[in-house]
Amino acid sequence: MTEVQEHYTLRVNGRDHAVEDAWLGESLLYVLRERLGLPGSKSGCEQGECGSCSVTVDGVLVCACLVLAASAVETEILTIEGLAGPDDPMTVVQEAFVTEGGVQCGFCTPGLVMAVHDLLERIPEPSDLEVREAISGNLCRCTGYGRVLAAVQQAVARGVRG
């Protein structure tokens, strides 16, 4: 690339990452996947329509494809790779997705898991409609959402808070 090269630092999953020689227009999604070795967030539409790239920035759930990477400096970014703590192989939500059949091709799964975590932090015992509205920004083409909703109920039943 022959354009002005950007250099900045992003804090992702608790660690600082230096970004060098980046093109200004790169989204956070691109930088996570292609520069920082974190391909867990997926690129399904690059328009914020599918939610496959959902991450949190300072605790707020957003689509990483719509975040200009260079503008995300001095924030705390959490991706799917950082969700489970160092001592847990996976979160209760992740486990519920697996046991309830909420995963088929899996492309939407990281974004969905992030959205469900965000929901349960805000509403620990959501109604069916509240769950549906909370994940309405995560498109899934395989499951028809049935087993995903069952997974959320399972996580709630286990008394999990996000």
Binding site: G44, P89, Q104, C105, G106, R132, L139, R141, G144
Partner: protein, 758 residues
Amino acid sequence: MTDTATRAPARDGIGASAVRPDGVAKTKGAFAFTSDLFAEGLLWGRTLRSPHASARIRSVDTEAARAIPGVAAVVTALDVPGLPTYGLDEADQPVFAIDVVRYAGEPIAAVAADHPETARRALEAIVVHYEVTDGVYDPEEAFDAPPIHPNGNVFRHVPIRKGDPDATGEVVVEGMYEVGMQDQAFMGPESGLAIPAEDGGVELYISTQWLHVDRDQVAACLDLPPEKVRLTLGGVGGAFGAREDVSLQVHVCLLALRTGRPVRMVYSREESFHGHVHRHPARIWMRHHAGADGRIVKLEARLLLDGGAYQSTSTHVISNAACFASGPYVVPNAVIDGYSVRTNNPPCGAMRGFGAVQACFAHEGQMDKLAAACGLEPVEVRLRNAMAHGDTLVTGQVVAGTLPTRECIEAAAALPLPPDPADDWLARPGGTGRTTDRSDVQRGLGWAVGLKNLMYAEGADDYSTASCRLEGGFAVITSAAAEVGQGFVTLAAQIGRTVLGIDDVTLGPAQTATIGSAGSTSASRQTWMSGGAVEAACVAVRAQVLAHVAASRGVPVAELALVDGRIASADGSVDVAVAEAAPGVVFEATEEFHHHRTHPLDAGGQGQAHVAFAVACHRAVVDVDAELGLVRVVQIATGQDVGKALNPLAVRGQIEGGIAQGVGLAVLEEIVLDKGRIRNPSFTDYLIPTALDMPEVVATLIEQPEPGAPFGAKGVGEAPTVSSHAAVVAAIRAATGLDLARCPVRPQDIALAPRVAG
């Protein structure tokens, strides 16, 4: 869901709702989709596509593009070393357009560069001079229009003549039905990583539905022997028919070979809409003759499917549509003509349901008309005509396997109806838009039943290959069956565990270099065909193990059994763990699994063309705001013929996912064309159901084991999509009193429909 399958005991064998082996990785974002794969020094590939649907190419100038720093290669049709075209049946589709463009989105050139933005700018720097020409956009015009392609404009005419063409019935109902162009819209866009190999060949990591057929087409286009084109299945983000045809495979390999570097191509969502085939839009005329009792005497039908610019699988889709125009009903006399034609619209091909979906919309609309004309309930008219084992299709084939049509209908009818909606905006049509108060809503209920064949038809030998390797109590199963999300990887391990009686069963990578073809992940065939191949390979290995132990212990083989991880004789003289039974010995078997032979249809559409069938019934409840034309699908109840549920949880996932696509086709999804150009190639405007659009699904599995099917199981992937859309539209008709002849139903179709007084 009313789950009529019994759960298997503890160990995750056949019949258990075993969890996916890749599920944990997927929830952690650790599962590698093809688009996640990385190679040192990789370049980014992008495709230049024609904005015109019909044009002559006067010139393509790539000089400026090649001069951009960071651009490693620019290729066009001139750079294709082998066959310039590819195709699943007929190689009529150019790798890059040569002289002529036949659809908007047709590839003209491809570039490889050091950054995706550089690649994009390189595309913009390619100068193409087009001379726009008149195109054909109405499939009716295709018959008489000048040939769009030397092969002509009619892909296939399927005539079906059964019984007496002049038979009549007291009751006659007729209709003209239209199905719009649906898109598979998988979540993971097309992606491939091609790495040039030292032997002059290429390694391709690819998301596809059929590795070997991709390999063969790539090899032919690159003028390489097949063994030098080695494909490995990467993680696939859904398929639903859109990955049967080649999309970027040849392009990315060509770029890799030209540059000598790894090249990755990942489509944007917009490019994805242009880069794969869609579901054939259809216009279908039907006329049913019946007795006053509602029993069908004759079906007349004309089906016209728009196949777009290139053939893909159009000859088979129309065959399906014609053969299943009669639906799961006994139709003694039939005059059916099916046509798939070429136009300058985007190419159409396989999508879940493959022709039966379109036919079902028409025949189910007809069945409701028949019910009304005979004064029967919709369920009753369907029960009176329902096909069963031993009945004859319009192709003259007798249904030799199970076909519990009646049971599926009765099961759906027995499922509880949904309650009245909660007093919440989100529970009403219009959702968060707050358009609709309770008094604005009418509820309606509708029915549809659909029939689908399993496996390929008309003489195709779509076999599958699998191998099993057992050493020290660990088994590795190898199959090239493309896992696209449906759960074949889960099932294969379940089969291995059941047959070998051990827990430690894993799957090896799916590659062309190490195993023969498994056939396509389509036609609801992998459970039967690749499940059958895996079973056969494991059975062979089990026989080897038992023979080995029998020989080494001096015991007759017939006295040994392999159960729960141990090999034991009835008298107890032999009792050893499989893991310890043959230290250092490797047991291996590779098996090819074929289904019984089928035959092409003759000139009258008669023949033993299909292997087996599956049926499903759907009952839809919708709430409609007729003044605004907004619909909320409240519940879909289904009874589905599954043979045997090998993994009830996975079956449920297929049913719910397939119904979601039916809901989409009924009220949301359509590729909108304007003179061949896609106007809505994005998720902003191609709307698939969100969690707020998806109804409750209640299901009963009808298990009548299919003779000849491995474990008695039928494929379950397509049946949920074949009739669910028709049930939803039927429900909207019931709620509104409107004769809706088209799907997807748009708000204006309801809100602005002329209302007949009285």
